[in-house]
């Protein structure tokens, strides 16, 4: 049944396409990847886990508000684009460039952001999802720093549309890679920033908290072990998990309280988490993250 649905979807998409051969090939390649996903994979489960992964934008906002300086040298150069020839690399680096774009936007460096917009559009086109990336609107919004809210909104919506589309087309393997790339880049930026600010406990805790996200990402990768590329990346992520096993997160629940202010139910969260992470843990996590990210962007 699944093959039939994929077949019909493929036929419809091919018949609606502009006839560009590279696009057709890219789409067919992505279907081959679907076939390599393990049998009995419950797409609803995968999609539910995918929806949990937080936006890298949250980390960029934290970095900006913690007073850290804009550091474009931490980002993946848009000049690396020609290196990404497989769908695997394209999807991962689409996520990486998405995080880099969010970072430049949050810091108001729109000229740098425009380079990423172009790279994102190229990768998205090659993955046959370029129709969801509204380049003219984003470039127009990026031209004026007063449009930051709208710019963040449109880019977030575009990436949400891409993920939903991939999931609806049973190309969730690409969605997993896209989100993993985005997360990996946010990790890299956070680790590098923490290394420059060794006294910043909040950043160290933020790195520690990523243990929760990594567990979800590894769960996602467990569905694609028959895919050679994803299995290799999973093995690398397992090394990161080994480092994270030394980080302890404890949770204490306490009933929350609430009051209504201006028609909004405002909650006072009385629960707490405590993150036990040492500078040595941070260093180890930073080094492993850097090594994985280097492989991905090379």
């Amino acid at each position: 049944m699944k093959l039939f649905v994929i077949g019909v979807a493929a036929a419809l998409l091919v018949s609606c396409s502009s006839g560009k051969k590279p696009d057709d090939e890219a789409f067919l390649q992505s279907l081959e990847k679907d076939a390599s996903a393990g049998p009995g994979v419950d797409e609803e489960v995968i999609n539910a886990i995918l929806e949990q992964i937080p936006s890298p934008l949250e980390i960029s906002v934290l970095l900006k508000e913690s007073g850290s300086k804009y550091a474009p040298e931490m980002l993946n150069s848009s000049n690396n684009l020609p290196r990404y020839n497989s769908n695997y690399k394209k999807a991962l680096n689409l996520g990486i460039y998405g995080t880099d774009l969010g970072y430049t936007n949050i810091f108001g460096r729109n000229q740098d952001g425009i380079k990423y917009i172009s790279s994102i559009k190229s990768l998205a086109d090659e993955l046959n999802i370029g129709q969801f990336f509204d380049t003219p609107t984003i470039v127009r919004l990026a031209a004026n720093s007063k449009n930051l809210d709208s710019l963040l909104l449109v880019t977030t919506l575009n990436f949400n549309h891409i993920n939903h589309y991939l999931q609806s087309q049973s190309r969730d393997n690409l969605s997993v890679l896209l989100l993993t790339g985005g997360w990996l880049e946010a990790m890299q930026i956070t680790c590098q920033t923490a290394a420059k600010n060794p006294g910043n406990k909040e950043l160290q805790e933020k790195i520690g908290e990523q243990k929760i996200i990594l567990e979800q990402i590894l769960l996602l990768f467990s569905f694609y072990e028959s895919d050679q590329n994803m299995a290799a990346l999973k093995a690398d992520l397992e090394k990161l998990k080994d480092a994270y096993d030394k980080v302890e997160i404890s949770y204490t629940y306490k009933e929350s309280t609430m009051e209504i202010i201006d028609g909004v139910a405002v909650i006072k969260d009385n629960s707490t988490t405590s993150i036990n992470i040492t500078p040595e843990n941070v260093e180890e996590i930073k080094n492993i993250t850097n090594s994985i990210r280097e492989k991905v962007i090379s």
């Binding site: 937080p54 709208s150 909104l153 919506l157 805790e205 949770y251 629940y253 139910a265 969260d269």
Partner: protein, 141 residues
């Protein structure tokens, strides 16, 4: 400018969606309409379709982070929530927030998170007629 962007998004969303029949819940439109209703200062994260025509509850999950304030709002037919209630549960399934307070249906929850972890965002339906809506999630530091 923001309104113009939304107008374009709404139009494109309508253009891509099939026209609903009377029995259908066009939750996508409600979800899209909810995004600009996030309070000022909140950055949009996700929109959620709340289609309860065939089920008792609709549930999503998201990792909330300590030190970040989240806002979840509700949109349905009319100005009120049409009996739709959004509740937040922690990873142990303790209820940490709800939009139904003393029998009153509130259209938005502000949740300043103090404990990082997976949270479940659950939508339930208190009115027999109201099973269709949308919701948006935003954050600010």
């Amino acid at each position: 400018m923001k309104k113009l962007v939304f107008a374009l998004l709404c139009l494109s969303s309508l253009g891509m969606s099939p026209a609903p029949d009377d029995q259908e819940c066009n939750s996508e439109n409600f979800a899209t309409a909810c995004i600009p209703k996030l309070a000022t200062g909140f950055n949009f994260l996700k929109s959620y379709k709340v289609d309860g025509l065939a089920k008792d509850k609709v549930e999503y999950s998201y990792v909330f982070t300590k030190g970040t304030q989240y806002m979840i709002n509700l949109c349905a037919n009319g100005a009120a929530t049409d009996g739709i209630v959004v509740s937040i549960f922690d990873k142990e399934r303790n209820k940490v927030a709800t939009s139904k307070v003393n029998g009153q249906f509130i259209s938005a929850i502000a949740y300043p998170c103090n404990a990082t972890g997976i949270y479940y965002i659950q939508y339930t339906f208190d009115e027999p007629s109201g099973h269709c809506g949308g919701s948006a999630l935003g954050f600010k530091r």
